[in-house]
Symmetry: C2
Subunit: 365 residues, 2 copies
Amino acid sequence: MGDEVTTCIDVSSWSCPLPLRDCPHIVMGHGGGGKLSADLVEHLFLPAFHRQESDCSEQSDSLSTLGDAATLRVQGTRLAFSTDSFVVRPLFFPGGDIGKLAVHGTVNDLAMMGARPLYLSTGFILEEGLPLAQLSAIADSMGCAAHASGVKLVTGDTKVVDKGHGDGVYINTSGIGLIPEGVEINPMRARPGDVVLISGKIGVHGMAIMSVRDGLAFDAMIESDTAPLNGLVQAMLDVSKDIHVLRDPTRGGVASTLNEIAKASRVGIVIDEAALPVPAPVRAACELLGMDPIYVANEGKLVAIVPPESAEPMLERMRSHPLGTHAAIIGQVSDQHPGIVAARTRLGTARVVPMQIGEQLPRIC
Amino acid sequence: MGDEVTTCIDVSSWSCPLPLRDCPHIVMGHGGGGKLSADLVEHLFLPAFHRQESDCSEQSDSLSTLGDAATLRVQGTRLAFSTDSFVVRPLFFPGGDIGKLAVHGTVNDLAMMGARPLYLSTGFILEEGLPLAQLSAIADSMGCAAHASGVKLVTGDTKVVDKGHGDGVYINTSGIGLIPEGVEINPMRARPGDVVLISGKIGVHGMAIMSVRDGLAFDAMIESDTAPLNGLVQAMLDVSKDIHVLRDPTRGGVASTLNEIAKASRVGIVIDEAALPVPAPVRAACELLGMDPIYVANEGKLVAIVPPESAEPMLERMRSHPLGTHAAIIGQVSDQHPGIVAARTRLGTARVVPMQIGEQLPRIC
């Protein structure tokens, strides 16, 4: 007889980091680089694309390794092949712009396979009404970034969508790199006893974007760390070709990257929270917003997992490189709790660092 | 003292095929594959990207050849590398969907360099709220298309943009193909005396999309001709490796493709209007809409330019292939009027067939 309270929530319009894993629609989290993104690849794309994989004569060519790039062999030449789309807002942000990010992003995906990045394609989806001056600035930025990264932009495509659709500019870059013989870097190669390194201070790119996001802008002197990591990787390979894993912790941050590695290699990873290099402004901004820097995106950092004997020389070489000045050893690989990342807190206790479910910070790259 | 009539036209919201070449904003025509698209590449992208080209040690690797794909040499292996973004509306149309189109489009771009397409990347930009069932249907379609085309989808990326931005799904595919030694196919190789062939009936894809476009739908039994052309190209290469030019006349149709070739090769091209195979429903729909089939997009046809001695055997081989049943000789390359395409009309007169300026039919691929 009493009134029945019906709470009606329209989850389809949410864009917050909640576990909407049973929602039959795409939510922002599906693009967040966390658990929802992984679900989409595992349960939707891989089965759909698998019909051609099953006829695959060379099983080494596979989408299912889930690395930052595919590794291919064409007439004896080992290639890395990678693709990434960029939808960051705003288009220009402290320390960079969508064009710079689009070049660095794919250069880095190739570098994370130990490849020397060679060629990039550029696919533009432009919104009707975009000022040509903005497009020109972005294209200039891409030319500069490519030059600085030592890659060539060799082929391109442009589409235009109606005003009100798109966000000015979306860019896809795909890239081809050459993998030297003897280099076998992939997320499945972490072994118990291996040492986990980070190349520098974390959380910078995500917080730089956050600081200029509409409706959220706060006053922070944080510039994106966007940078091409192929030079640093080359320096590291000069120390030892036997690097087990390299990943750039972009969407989902260091936490999601380590979780992916732990899962792919079926190992546990233990990190030391106090060892994580977090810049003071990032820490302050994260506290303000209730975020954890370990989940915040980076665009110029890498996580490396190397055998224990090469950890110290590798760290030393990284620190002597301009992009590795603040490199640090942050943890170890363990045969305990496979698939799980744990952190030793500053209080000496341990906590599980789960994979991000959805989206902490939409549209960061 | 009288009223002054001020006609205020906001060109920035136009999406019609008018010459808005001095507009400082992106208009739909910049994505139309015609003169405005070419201007954008020539005057904006190439200069911006050139800063790295100038340090180019191998000048053969170049964006500036403007073919459907770049040709690269990596450790002695000749590769074709191509990228294409797909923004077609509606996502599902008679005879295909955006996924099928995205696979065929890049397969065909590689095939137009004489390459054997091997690997494709897939970059998705999804709109928040997209039903997963739709995405799943599109992914299935891509898997099938890749299987049928003999290529592997080896690496991918997914981004999600806010509801109201995007149009459900945008897809970028990039691809790598292997160019056999002895094959030199590019738009600069048309020579006076060469013969121009078309592999089948024209205008089908564009009119299929048009027939289901919101606010325009008309009743026509036209299905898109989207198809992978690599098999047909292989059959043609078996007749002779000395094919001079191959192009798939997508955006801008046969007219724009021939104009690009005439300009790139610095030759004239004369086509015979009566020889163009135009299906009756396409002709009827074009008459209704005041369009010319020669400007309408195709997604499963190719234009071939071959030396005169191989024209007949080539035509015969094309006609024996399922995708070349209606192949025809449609014209010749001339040393007259370089850079210009002319048509002999049914009345025996000649007319110039200019390049499309902007956009005849937005969002067809």
